[in-house]
């Protein structure tokens, strides 16, 4: 398997009024093509910082990030994002359709093709026929589906999600997790997801990266050897699932 994303000896420091804050220390990790990788770790450890480096929104203090072997400067091509705060990442002044259409403008598609992308991505997330609504006319779960549709519409090779399901209720969360599994099965997009929910990480991932320490380093990379397809009830009752979640949990808490 080839590495889609290579994180090479990345360190990140922030200048603050009380001196330099060293957040990430010498992180190295390769994300394989078509893999689903979760990043877990205690609050404030630097997960969002790592994702922001990956999306090219910030430059690492040292080290580099490569996509397909090329060092990134700025957001890499073929990237899509889904953030926790859907109310702030969708534009209230545009309909769902127009929200989805906006990132497509870079690709200079024709009218018909744009339409087709919007329709098919809305259908993929189960929102067919709602494209004319404004985000604030929809429930939180629907808005997050719309953000996922926006991501899919660009036909990304890399999908980055920062706690995408942290702001929805438990039932919606299960539905959205299964939606992500379906998307993964349909498109095989290389995905990096930050989550606080260790069960969710185990349920969705091929690999889990555990960040720990101050400054944070990669404490462990856990391979989730549970076969696909997975299902909420069976997978979560699987003995391997229980072992893995216990193991990851202990590492996040620094117990192991």
């Amino acid at each position: 398997m080839t590495a889609e994303i290579s994180i090479r000896n990345v360190s990140m420091e922030f200048p603050t009024p009380d001196g330099v804050k060293h957040v990430l220390n010498d992180i190295s990790y390769d994300v394989n093509q078509h893999h689903f990788v979760s990043i877990v770790g205690p609050s404030g450890v630097g997960k969002t910082t790592l994702l922001r480096l990956l999306t090219g929104l910030m430059k690492p203090t040292s080290g580099e990030i490569q996509v397909h072997g090329e060092r990134i400067s700025g957001a890499p091509k073929g990237l899509a994002v889904v953030l926790q705060d859907y109310t702030r990442s969708l534009m209230p002044w545009l309909t769902i359709e127009k929200n989805i259409a906006l990132p497509l403008r870079n690709q200079k598609l024709g009218k018909a093709e744009t339409r087709e992308r919007i329709e098919s991505s809305l259908e993929e997330v189960g929102l067919s026929g709602t494209g004319g609504n404004y985000p604030w006319q929809m429930s939180g779960g629907m808005q997050q589906r719309a953000s996922i549709a926006r991501a899919l519409a660009v036909r990304p090779t890399i999908l980055v999600m920062d706690e995408p399901f942290a702001s929805v209720d438990a039932q919606t969360r299960f539905d959205l997790e299964d939606l992500v599994l379906k998307v993964r099965a349909d498109f095989g997009i290389t995905t990096l997801m930050v989550t606080h929910d260790i069960d969710e990480a185990v349920y969705l991932s091929d690999e889990i990266v555990v960040l720990h320490g101050r400054p944070a380093g990669v404490r462990d990379v856990v391979v989730v050897d549970i076969p696909f397809p997975r299902s909420q009830i069976e997978t979560r009752n699987d003995q391997r699932f229980t072992e893995l979640r216990t193991h990851v949990y202990a590492m996040v808490r620094g117990l192991e």
Partner: protein
């Protein structure tokens, strides 16, 4: 529903205020003064509305306010957007703009008269001076207020600066600008009147000055009433359009 329940509350309160004025000025504590009663003032207003001079003066005041207001927007919006886009420009100009913002236009009337005389242009200049700084700052604040999460999302999708301005910065500035516009529109009217009242610029302000110095109390109060009605119409009109344009708020 009873008939009383169908009368809009603003009519009720207005009628009450007029009734209170009537009583106070005819039998109340200020009945000895030269303050006319409500009935006299309203009657005079109706008479004034039958005269073309009143409409010409009204037109001049509205024109001064409207042209000054439009010029202010024309200057302040692009300026505010440019300033808001750069942190450096914002922090370095903010002090100067705040300084000018708090100078009431009335203060510069003497200088303005020296330069332009008691003219229409002087009125327009005063309105622009009174509005432009506050509007520019307000716009700059709005541009800066764009949600960082939204901007990050757009950058991650590799959307250029022009798209960011068009789709994130301007819409988020819109609600700030709307507040600025609502305040400015009525302020423009007030300044246009003051320009006439103190600076002698044409319009209702000058009519007010003339009736006042001529001891025409009924007429003075009638003009004040007219200005009040005008102000209410303007602020309601602006609020109505705000709701149409910035539809994603107030929901």
């Amino acid at each position: 529903m009873s008939i009383a329940g169908r009368i809009p509350p603003w009519i009720v309160s207005m009628l009450l205020a007029l009734a209170f004025w009537q009583v106070a000025a005819s039998v109340g504590p200020i009945s000895d003064s030269s303050i006319p009663t409500a009935v006299d003032s309203v009657t005079t207003l109706v008479q004034l509305l039958g005269q073309s001079e009143t409409w010409i003066a009204l037109g001049q005041t509205v024109a001064i306010a409207a042209i000054g207001f439009a010029l202010s927007l024309l200057i302040a919006l692009p300026l505010g957007i440019l300033i808001g886009l750069s942190r450096f420009a914002f922090t370095s100009t903010k002090f100067v703009f705040d300084f000018f913002k708090v100078i009431p236009p009335i203060v510069i009337i003497p200088i303005t008269i020296l330069a332009l005389g008691p003219t229409f242009q002087m009125g327009v200049f005063l309105v622009v001076f009174g509005l432009v700084f506050a509007l520019a700052i307000q716009t700059a604040y709005g541009v800066r207020d764009a949600d960082p999460v939204l901007l990050d999302t757009m950058r991650a999708y590799r959307q250029g600066i022009v798209t960011q301005i068009r789709y994130a910065r301007l819409p988020s500035a819109a609600s700030f600008i709307a507040v600025g516009i609502r305040i400015s529109a009525t302020a423009a009217l007030v300044i246009a009147v003051v320009a006439g009242l103190i600076g002698g610029a044409p319009g209702l302000g000058r009519q007010l000055l003339l009736s006042q110095t001529g001891g025409l109390a009924d007429q003075t109060f009638a003009i004040v009433l007219l200005l009040g009605v005008l102000g209410v119409l303007v602020s309601h009109g602006i609020e109505w359009s705000r709701r149409k344009v910035i539809f994603w708020e107030d929901r």
